[in-house]
């Protein structure tokens, strides 16, 4: 398809404006985390790393980082186990309600977080009589982390087909050996990509976390939210926000690289 030069320019301008809306504010946050002025006078007249040093010393921030990492890793592990198992069931076996299950697994990612959060909170505290804490946060995060792992695993399994597994069994390997030597190595990059995405989703989640964390746990996004309107914490909030941005970009970038890596999963 060819488009006229003016149309091309207009599209480029729109794209530029769209991207600017997303990335200019983020860049400002990152630059302000180095802004020496306590009131963030713009443009910055002096740059400093003292806010970063203060943030690293801040026990609240360190606690929040710890909880974010623990919750993210736990949710990712659960998502990897359940998501892979589900993808196997859906791609390899025919059973009643298969399509419904597939839909139900994917649905949480599009459900409003506030609804999921309140529903989970209600279920945990009222129906199950649990107190909110790390476990409830992990379960809450796993509901949407599982989606990305499931989708990645399912796509890879479909692309792999069944003949590699058949060849392995034909050559004398039982189901477990086949999974270990053939299926898993050919899925590994898809699972790592799914796991990274899942961790990224969990790491910056705030809505579901708000309703499932309870008073004892504060993840990084919750810490930011709670300290946002305390003027003396503002410089540290910028640092934490910048950290969140950078830590979220890395998994997404790596996972994109891995997903497009076709040399490990393709059939011949």
């Amino acid at each position: 398809m060819t488009i006229s030069k003016s149309a091309r320019l207009a599209l480029a301008a729109l794209l530029g404006i769209g991207l600017a809306f997303i990335y200019v504010p983020l860049t400002v946050v990152i630059i302000n985390s180095f802004n020496a002025s306590r009131t963030f006078s713009w443009p910055p007249t002096e740059l400093t790393t003292k806010w970063w040093a203060k943030a690293i010393e801040n026990t609240g921030v360190r606690e929040a980082l710890k909880w974010s990492i623990i919750a993210g890793l736990s949710a990712t592990v659960i998502a990897l186990l359940l998501g892979t198992a589900l993808a196997f069931a859906v791609s390899r076996y025919e059973f009643f309600g298969r399509e419904v299950i597939s839909l139900l697994v994917v649905l949480p990612i599009s459900l409003p977080g506030v609804v999921t959060g309140i529903a989970l909170n209600n279920a945990f505290t009222k129906q199950l009589g649990m107190s909110t804490g790390l476990i409830t946060v992990v379960i809450g995060h796993a509901t949407f982390c599982i989606v990305v792992v499931y989708n990645n695993a399912l796509a890879r399994l479909r692309r792999m087909g069944t003949s590699l597994q058949e060849a392995s069994m034909d050559l004398g390997a039982n189901g477990i050996t086949t999974f270990r030597l053939v299926t898993l190595p050919n899925m590994a990059s898809a699972l790592v990509a799914g796991g990274l995405l899942a961790f990224g989703l969990s790491f910056d989640e705030i809505v579901v976390t708000t309703f499932t964390a309870g008073p004892g746990i504060q993840t990084l996004p919750l810490w930011i939210y709670n300290n946002l309107f305390r003027p003396n914490q503002a410089p540290i909030v910028n640092v934490v926000a910048a950290t969140l941005v950078l830590l979220s970009i890395v998994p997404i970038y790596l996972s994109q690289r891995l997903s497009s890596d076709s040399s490990t999963g393709g059939r011949f």
Binding site: E166, S168, M169, D170, G172, T264, R267, F268
Partner: protein
């Protein structure tokens, strides 16, 4: 998996009353077949005729609905693939993409617990057999179609199975390579002496390679015999058309068949005791030979590949052949 005991005079593989349906489709509808030791047996038929399903049931990828498959006297029809002394060469080769050539070839020995030195040595011998020395470290993606095909063969044969199953292994190769692989495959089979069960829909391939051919149609074996028996005496109209070309004509109130190569066309003389007059209508060049289409004065057209020189389209000609070359079909 132990080596099966060799029993001469008896079938190595016995298939009895084998059936398998997929939904409403009866893919395999009562197949009986005995396969002898050391034989090159081809399952030939159009797609959907059940030949591949039979192969997959021998391999263990599909379970029969009923019937039995006996390998060296033992019923294997309910055993998983990894407990059967058979190996398969897949249509898409199914080489493990994350392993190099040598690791692919030694896979079967590895999962059976053969020591590293031992399996490496055997894999290198197999690699030499398929003339791919120096390709040990290549990944399947770095090989050509013909090379992948040979690696798939070596990966199966290194296990020394009692039966090698081949599921349209040459289907993905181009014509020239396919013809070369047909010769190589046949030579390899003679060399290793392993029973080959070969699935194809290509009748020329089946005729040129097989000791015996089982012709499949609608989930059943329609005829079983040597290539010569099947070509000379096809049991049904379906087979006479599927294997080679045939003229199906009615003479003296009798429906008979005659292969084009036995019919000669000339201006005057005859070479047989059956003579029909006609007009040369067309010539169809098909590479190695030319087919001539003659409209006979009995109201039907015939094809021949035997023709005397200097004939032109439109000439009045005489068709003749030996009556004994004619064959009847039962169905």
């Amino acid at each position: 998996m132990g080596k099966v005991s060799r029993m001469s005079g008896q079938a190595l593989v016995s298939i009895r009353a084998l059936k398998r349906s997929f939904g409403d489709v009866r893919a395999v509808d009562g197949v009986d077949l005995d396969i002898r030791e050391g034989e090159f047996l081809t399952l030939l038929g159009p797609s959907g005729s059940g030949k591949t399903t039979v192969l997959r049931m021998i391999a263990g990828f599909e379970k029969p609905d009923s019937g039995s498959i006996t390998l060296a006297g033992k019923d294997v029809s309910q055993l998983p693939p990894y407990e059967r002394d058979v190996n398969t060469v897949f249509q898409d080769y199914a080489l493990f993409p994350h392993m190099d050539v040598l690791t692919n070839i030694e896979y079967g020995l590895r999962v059976k617990g053969v020591s590293k030195e031992e399996r490496r040595a055997q894999a290198l011998v197999a690699l030499k057999q398929i003339r791919l020395e120096g390709y040990e470290d290549r990944k399947p993606a770095q090989l050509s179609g013909g090379q992948r095909q040979r690696v798939a063969l070596a990966r199966a044969l290194v296990n020394k199975p009692s039966v090698l199953l081949l599921d349209e292994p040459l289907g993905a190769l181009d014509l020239k390579l396919r013809e070369q692989m047909q010769i190589e495959l046949k030579a390899l089979q003679r060399e290793v002496g392993i029973t080959f069960i070969f699935v194809t829909h290509d009748q020329e391939e089946a005729l040129s390679m097989s000791d015996r051919i089982a012709i499949f149609n609608h989930g059943k074996i329609e005829q079983l015999g040597t290539p010569r028996e099947i070509y000379d005496n096809p049991k049904s109209a379906f087979i006479s058309e599927f294997v080679g070309q045939t003229n199906r004509i009615e003479i003296d109130g009798k429906k008979v068949n005659i292969r084009p190569e036995f019919v000669s066309i000339s201006k005057s003389g005859t070479t047989g005791d059956r003579v029909v007059q006609g007009i040369l209508r067309d010539e169809i060049f098909v590479g190695a030979s030319t087919r001539y289409l003659v409209e006979t004065n009995l109201g039907f057209s015939m094809i021949s590949t035997q023709v005397e020189n200097d004939l032109k389209i439109g000439d009045a000609v005489t068709l003749s052949w030996q009556k004994e070359r004619e064959f009847l079909v039962q169905i």
